[in-house]
Amino acid sequence: MVLLKPTPTIRRLARDALWFAGALGLMLAAACLGPRTTPVDSDPDKLADLEFQAYLADLPTVTVAEAYRAMLILADGKDPYKTFDERKTALESRGIARPAWNLAPDHVIDKGSVAYMVCRICRLRGGVNLLVFGSLGVGDRRYALRELVYRGLCEDSVHYQALTGGELVAILTKADAYMEKQGLYQAVPVELPPEPAPGETPEWTNPPPATQP
């Protein structure tokens, strides 16, 4: 048997192959961040939608279950489901989440997964990388995050990093503003009125009386 002598070329090829395999494994292994270890004060399952959104803002990290509920509120304005399995089914059936991720509800979610779901909700097609690799499932979350960064909906970071509740709320705020601007949901426009002329008394200085509860 003739042994292969490790020439410099072979060593360089082996090093490059190991690097590529590691990078590919890292891309595929995104979202494996484990359960959240920091305890929280409230039980999110018992909160209404408005209280749940306020609850998100103070979280040190966000779990998959909390992120899934937030995505449904972003997509529809409300969350009619009661359990994680119902939300997971709803998101996967609409193509917002992918079954291949196989995320556990109590595990911390990564930025890439959230970015992918936001891209799907906001109907952001992305560039060539997101279209090609995203459809293959290899770099879907990585390039979705890059698309959000390009659109100004998210700050630049790595896709496998966990995100805090404040960061999730910021993404939701900007995504909601984007959806409203693009007309992705019906809403009565509410804006500041034009500035009144000096000496003019605008009609909005006489607000309507209180309405009945």
């Binding site: 939608d49 408005l50 009565v188 509410v190 009144p196 607000p207 509860p213």
Partner: protein, 349 residues
């Protein structure tokens, strides 16, 4: 009926009526009289928002929170929280001066101070996270309005259309002014202050607007008609993305000149520059960049004014196709710019 019980029944009835009226007023969002101090009244609501009074409220709890309704009046120490797809518009009553505040979606805000002092209205709004947009009209009374977030403070100077956006726990914030006036941005941690004028924004980096604007929009800060050579090459590569049209390598640089034809810079021609307008397609000699710089340093022409023409319309867009489609009318400047079609007759001749 016992006559002795009639006064007691009347007293009981009056007390019951007072309790009912008091409860009704609270249920309608009408808090007890505020001693004449201004209040914020809800002018418009879209979506799901709640309000509460006090400093011990938990944002993620339902205890102490009530639904925001049009016409509600909120004094100081009132907190307002909104969800997605929700906006609340508040108007200061009495309108001295006319002040309007809009609480944007996914926001937790508070009314910290609301009073009239020393002939002016003092308003302090708190912003835990989210965004507030507001406007203060000119009036007899000045309005000293500030919006305080954990990391930044917005202080206005007679303005309309100013906005503060703050994120929870990330330290990122953004202030902007869209209509009129002057806004002072204060970085709470460092005390650094900066003014912004209408159309400008500022964020946690506290950089001048002109330094940050090119990250959000295409902004030409150089003279696209007057520069050439290494200056033009630098701006093409770093400003417009047109550098991909150029060829390079081996230290050889090709640049687009101000005439519009794709050509290589000829710096070894006669000072008169008679051959400047020859088509580069036939004459593709090139210069090494170091040689080009050396030539310029030794004043070997032809040269335009080194400081350009400050974008006053001389010269042409440095792309041949655009030039042929939209031929520009050129006048000769003191710097000696050439026309697209040949020599130029100076004005008055």
């Amino acid at each position: 009926m016992n006559r002795a019980n009639r006064p007691q029944r009347g007293l009981i009835g009056a007390c019951a009526l007072a309790v009912v009226l008091g409860m009704a007023s609270i249920g309608l969002g009408q808090l007890p009289a505020n001693g004449g101090a201004p209040v914020f009244q809800v002018f418009e609501v879209r979506g799901d928002a709640k309000w509460g009074v006090g400093t011990n409220l938990k944002a993620d709890s339902e205890t102490g929170w009530r639904t925001v309704r049009v016409g509600d009046k909120y004094p100081r120490e009132t907190q307002i929280r909104t969800g997605l797809r929700t906006k609340v518009k508040l108007v200061m009553v009495p309108a001295k001066p006319a002040t309007i505040v809009m609480v944007e979606p996914l926001t937790l805000a508070s009314i910290d101070e609301l009073l009239q002092r020393d002939g002016k209205a003092v308003t302090r709004l708190g912003l835990a996270y989210g965004a507030i947009r507001a406007g203060v009209a000119e009036g007899e009374l000045r309005n000293d309005l500030q919006i305080r977030a954990p990391v930044a403070t917005l202080s206005k100077r007679g303005t309309w259309g100013f906005r503060l956006y703050a994120e929870r726990g990330t330290g990122r914030w953004e202030m902007s002014l869209s209509e009129r006036g002057l806004v002072e941005a204060i970085q709470n941690l460092t005390g650094q202050r900066r003014f912004i004028t209408p159309g400008q924004t500022i964020n946690q980096f506290m950089s001048h607007w002109i330094e940050a604007v090119h990250f959000t929009q295409q902004l030409t800060v150089h003279d696209p008609f007057g520069i050439k050579g290494a200056d033009l090459l630098f701006n093409l590569n770093n400003g417009t993305g047109l550098g991909v049209l150029l060829f390079g390598g081996n230290g050889t640089i090709g640049v687009l000149n101000t005439v519009g034809n794709f050509r290589i810079e000829h710096l070894d021609l006669t000072p008169g520059g008679q051959n400047n307008n020859q088509s580069s397609n036939q004459n593709a000699s090139s210069l090494r960049l170091s040689q080009a710089i050396q030539n310029r340093a030794q004043n070997r022409g032809p040269f335009r004014r080194p400081d350009g023409d400050f974008g006053v319309g001389f010269g042409s867009v440095p792309l041949g196709n655009i030039q042929r489609a939209f031929p520009a009318r050129i006048k000769e400047s003191p710097g000696g710019y050439r026309s697209l079609m040949g020599s130029v007759t100076p004005p008055g001749k």
